[in-house]
Symmetry: C2
Subunit: 322 residues, 2 copies
């Protein structure tokens, strides 16, 4: 896993993946007490950065292998990213999703042409279901983060951050990344190591589901006690990956964590100040930028908004803070 | 008023005004029955295209004249556009706003450093108030649409549409523009006449406030019967301008109009499919693209989202359609 793979992914993604802008608002700067830039991956195809990794992985497959199709496990954003990447490559996709995933994410995955197989998190073994389907049909598993071509795809977001910041004359910053298993975080960290070495990536998670923060503190992979019970569904994962953790350990600063209310308030600020729809898990980095100023250093922070796939009732909760 | 002024405005705007992306979603294509592209000026500084015209006009003033300051009449988006343009030029701005303008727009205008003077639409004469203040202080009036440098600034949005469409191989399209007094509409029409002559601009208005549509039909300027009573406050204006109407008459196709519910439904689709916050008046063009397919021609439509400055309670009404 190295920067050359990210460059190669960028070549494969060109013309297919959206170059999202780098946005700002003087109102956010005032709240944060420093300059805040936002990288809105909610504007990416399928509404999250996951399309980068999905396209990267599907496009890297041998065409003979690819034509049998792909399979993924996902509560939603990786599902949509892989589904669209497969659809655009004209190959089948099967997505194994928990039956309690947000309705919008299940509907969208189906609408993007994938076959969705739902399972009950409490009573069924998703791995068993997935193994059976993929061996029956010869499907290739696209893992959500612990897969080099997926990390390479997410890293292209970091290439854009480095370029866009340089255009603004910015070379030093803390780069806050919404962090689940660490695919986006480690990909951006590798890209910045090569192209903006004075920037430091800091993973941001929901309080109580801060496995990456604790793993970085402990120097070894720590797991979350629970896998549900937080509105930031997109970034609640069991533990950092075996591929992603060593990269984060080598390159990232300390992790940060924010409350559910802080995530909702950040969504309200994205609504009012940036005119962007963020989902709870996609808003944790902006929340840290705005509300955890004392835990940050330097005069510039760049926050990813990693996704915007949120149902209307949850969004209404955020609007109560607007 | 000609294309050279738009090119000159683009030079003055460079590095100050955001180049907004051109977005799309397969879900919107399905609803519309043709390819739909969206130009999201809600992502522009101050949350609407008005910053283009504001910057263009303020930057075109003689520095000696400019330093005394500027004044504008506006219910909100022009107010914010002029306020930020003045602030960034370090000159004072006075904005005359109706006391019933959306709270967010009044608050933001003040926060952008402008002196806001509120008046009661029913009992006070805004022109009398404005004349008194500007003659006392030597302020220059920046009109919202019937001013060549403002139209030139809005026209830069058309330059970007022509470039971005060409990059996608698109040269023919109907370009739907949210239309109040016609500043954005006529500016885009002039830009496309020069750079994408096979595209046709079509103004879109709220039903019952379709002065431009009726003016184009009649071949002469028609006025709206009322100036309030529609949620699309940003684009409810008395009549097309004396500068803008002849341009629209020469270059535009027939006008379209949509209902308030259609505007709210379009806002819900922008939320769900594009992760963009649109205000009601900023969503009428997308509404026409999605719900008035029979009134359109060709296989491609480009819809502006002209602004996203909407209060949370109004946005909650749109979410009911999501």
């Amino acid at each position: 896993m190295n920067i050359d793979m990210i460059h190669a992914a960028a070549d494969r993604l060109k013309g297919h993946v959206r170059r999202t802008p780098l946005l700002s608002s003087p109102f956010l700067d005032d709240i944060a007490g420093r300059r805040v830039f936002v990288k809105p991956e909610c504007l990416q195809h399928t509404g999250s950065f996951k399309f980068r990794g999905g396209w990267s992985a599907v496009s890297a497959l041998d065409p003979e292998v690819r034509k049998s199709g792909v399979i993924a496990f996902s509560s939603g954003n990786h599902a949509q990213g892989v589904a669209l990447a497969a659809q655009l490559h004209s190959v089948p996709a099967v997505i194994i999703m928990p039956s309690d995933a947000p309705a919008m994410k299940i509907d969208n995955t189906r609408a993007l042409g994938a076959e969705v197989v739902l399972y009950d998190r409490a009573t069924e073994d998703r791995d068993e279901i997935g193994d059976r389907i993929s061996s029956d049909r010869g499907l290739t598993l696209i893992k959500p983060f612990d897969e080099p071509q997926v990390v390479a795809g997410q890293g292209t977001c970091g290439l854009e951050i480095a370029e866009q910041a340089a255009e603004l004359g910015i070379t030093e910053a803390e780069v806050l990344v919404c962090c689940g298993g660490g695919g986006l975080t480690s990909g951006i960290a590798l890209a910045l190591e090569a192209h903006a070495p004075a920037m430091t990536v800091r993973p941001v998670e929901p309080e109580g589901f801060d496995d990456v923060k604790r793993s970085l503190q402990a120097g070894s992979i720590q797991r979350n006690a629970a896998l549900s019970g937080n509105i930031c569904d997109a970034i609640v994962t069991p533990a950092p990956g075996h591929l992603t953790f060593p990269i984060m350990q080598r390159l990232c600063g300390a992790g940060l964590s924010v409350t559910e209310d802080e995530a909702l308030r950040a969504m309200a600020h994205a609504f009012a100040r940036l005119k962007l729809v963020a989902e709870p898990g996609g808003a944790v980095a902006l929340a840290a930028a705005l509300f955890r100023a004392k835990e940050l250093t330097g005069d510039t922070v760049i926050a990813t908004i990693s996704g915007g796939n949120v149902d209307a009732p949850m969004y209404a909760r955020a609007l109560d803070f607007a």
